[in-house]
């Protein structure tokens, strides 16, 4: 990560970053997938990667995008082409920490728990992990993800991971 830890974020930076994550997870939990790519800069990276691959520096991801366009492609596939049993995800984040930054760009980490509810089954934990992200403030002052990397402790997935987190 490039962000220097010598520029601690101010309280208002922290508040703005927390608001970004609140809106991000609310959008996903509500199933407004078309809006999801808008949280990202045009040049961005998105990854859900198992801890096993992450720690071994093996790049294979469960879900991955090299650009905002690929996030859009993922959304199209989820909505138009993939076949799966109906379900809801709810994402719980905690321990959000802004690790440092430059005043324009910040490193952020947070824990994430995903609870899956198949419509005819009790709710169950789908997985948990830690987000290791980079967020930037763009030309219009909006916060966007340039890197969202969710390192997933859960290496054995209950059949499928349909939606992003």
């Amino acid at each position: 990560m490039n962000a220097s830890r010598e520029n601690p974020p101010t309280a208002s930076h922290r508040e703005a970053i927390r608001a970004l994550y609140d809106a991000y997870f609310e959008t996903l939990d509500d199933g407004r997938l078309e809006e999801w790519p808008e949280f990202f800069a045009d040049e961005c990276r998105y990854r859900i990667i198992t801890r096993e691959n992450y720690e071994a520096a093996q790049g294979l991801c469960i879900m991955q995008a090299d650009s905002k366009g690929m996030l859009t492609d993922r959304v199209r596939a989820i909505l138009k082409t993939q076949v799966y049993a109906p379900r809801y995800y709810r994402r719980f984040y905690s321990g959000l920490r802004v690790l440092g930054g430059t005043g324009k760009e910040w490193e952020v980490r947070q824990n994430v728990l995903i609870v899956q509810t198949l419509i005819d089954k009790p709710s169950e934990i789908l997985g948990c992990g830690v987000g290791r992200d980079r967020v930037v403030s763009n030309a219009s002052g909006e916060l966007k993800f340039v890197d969202r990397t969710l390192v997933f402790d859960t290496e054995m997935i209950r059949n499928s991971l349909i939606y992003p987190a």
Binding site: Q58, M70, R76, K80, T81, Q82, Y84
Partner: protein, 413 residues
């Protein structure tokens, strides 16, 4: 071996009885006759074990083994169970060992499984100790038969399993060595999913070209696969192994409508970033997809620049795990490595294509588990079974019938 008290439908292999997917007695017999019988089971890739002492644990059938480079030119596959009190010795998925020592009473084994040390074997101050007739050479870890073929490690619980290439058959060898051609491999990563469905659904699926463009809307929508592409379906003489190759879409005449009429394709959909599926040619031939399904444990598959082994681990009649090892070649440059990772989006538990399969497996299992006695799936597309080789089209289920011709023989059904 006891006969299984089940009667196969009179229609033969064009009907697959639901009980092959649900019955615990049938499942127990599969473990014994198939997984622990005269078959080669996938144990890993040589690239995973770079140095003497490098090991991985993996599961063959339901039994866990340690796969370890025991000498520069030797790989040993050992059951991960101490011969003393039956304790699972290695707990990690991978690492490096000097020897193999059980945590309970410190029995220690060499990397090839030979028992080397039994603490207090001669007793303490002359008292106690191991029985006098105890011979350490009788108490090594269970060693499986091993063969390494073009970088892939195969193991068998049976000494009678024929050499791998004979086991696979010449017909399938070219499908196998098209993907693992002997070049040194490099691991791109793993993914794992626990599928609530019988293991046989996974191998039937890859031998079923009929579902390709129908279930996987992504493929025809984004131009990766059309039902009128020339394809080649191969089986070995026994019917147990299968291979599906598909060639680039051709202008087959006969009109486009006939091809797409039955498909749920929205022609207006385009990819925003075509790098998701843009491939460069790297293997022999013009095939866009090539798979080699080595019964019972594995599918080796290439699609675009994703190269992978799909390793099946049965977990009772109603479940299995699918472990994906994506690999490339040692000489891949950074751009190729990134391309393989991108193409990995199509596969695994969030696969843009493969999610359709694992979800449908679960839906199928739910259908079977509530089925009436005597019910069966219908497998009547195309003609013939294992004798019917090299069909050049996709409207067929002959390779599923071929698979069950072999299955009935090995299972005595």
């Amino acid at each position: 071996m006891n006969r299984i008290a089940k009667t196969w439908p009179a229609a033969g292999v064009s009907e697959i009885p639901y009980w092959v997917y649900t019955d615990p007695e049938v499942y127990a017999a599969e473990l014994e006759r198939i997984w622990y019988g005269d078959h080669w089971i996938y144990a890993g890739l040589e690239a995973e074990l770079p140095q003497v002492g490098s090991y991985r644990t993996t599961t063959l059938g339901e039994r866990q083994v340690i796969v370890v480079r025991s000498a520069p030119d030797q790989i040993s596959v050992l059951e991960n169970r101490c011969r003393h009190r039956g304790v699972r010795i290695c707990q990690l998925r991978s690492g490096k060992l000097d020897g193999i020592t059980c945590p309970y009473h410190q029995w220690s084994y060499a990397l090839d499984g030979a028992l080397q040390g039994v603490p207090f074997r001669r007793g303490i101050k002359g008292k106690g100790g191991m029985a006098r007739d105890f011979s350490p050479s009788d108490y090594g870890l269970l060693r499986l038969k091993v063969e390494v073929v073009n970088g892939v490690i195969w193991a068998s619980f049976s000494d009678k399993t024929p050499p791998f290439r004979d086991y696979l058959g010449e017909k399938l060898w070219s499908s196998y060595e098209r993907i693992v051609d002997g070049r040194r491999l490099r691991i791109v990563g793993y993914s794992r999913q626990s599928i609530p469905a019988n293991w046989k659904l996974v191998i039937e699926n890859i031998r079923d070209p009929y579902h390709g463009a129908l279930l996987h809307v992504f493929l025809p929508t984004f131009g990766l696969f059309r039902p009128d592409q020339a394809s080649e379906l191969r089986m070995d003489e026994t019917g147990r192994h299968g291979s599906l190759m598909s060639l680039p879409a051709r202008d087959s005449g006969g009109g486009h409508e006939d091809v797409t009429r039955d498909l749920a394709v929205d022609a207006s959909l385009q990819l925003a970033d075509k790098r998701l599926i843009e491939a460069v040619k790297e293997l022999k031939g013009v095939e866009t997809l090539g798979s080699c399904s080595v019964f019972p444990s594995v599918i080796v598959l290439q699609q675009i620049n994703a190269l992978q082994v799909r390793h099946i681990v049965p977990k009772g009649p109603g479940g299995c795990e699918l472990i994906w090892t994506h690999f490339g070649f040692e000489k891949d440059d950074e751009e190729m490595r990134r391309r393989r990772i991108r193409h990995g989006n199509l596969f695994g538990p969030a696969g843009l294509v493969s999610v359709d399969d694992s979800e449908v497996f679960a839906m199928a299992q739910r259908g079977y588990e509530t089925a009436e006695d005597g019910g069966a799936t219908v497998v009547r597309m195309g003609t013939g079974g294992r004798e019917n080789r090299d069909e050049g089209h996709m409207a067929t289920e002959s390779a599923i019938r071929g698979l069950y011709q072999y299955y009935r023989e090995v299972m005595g059904l």
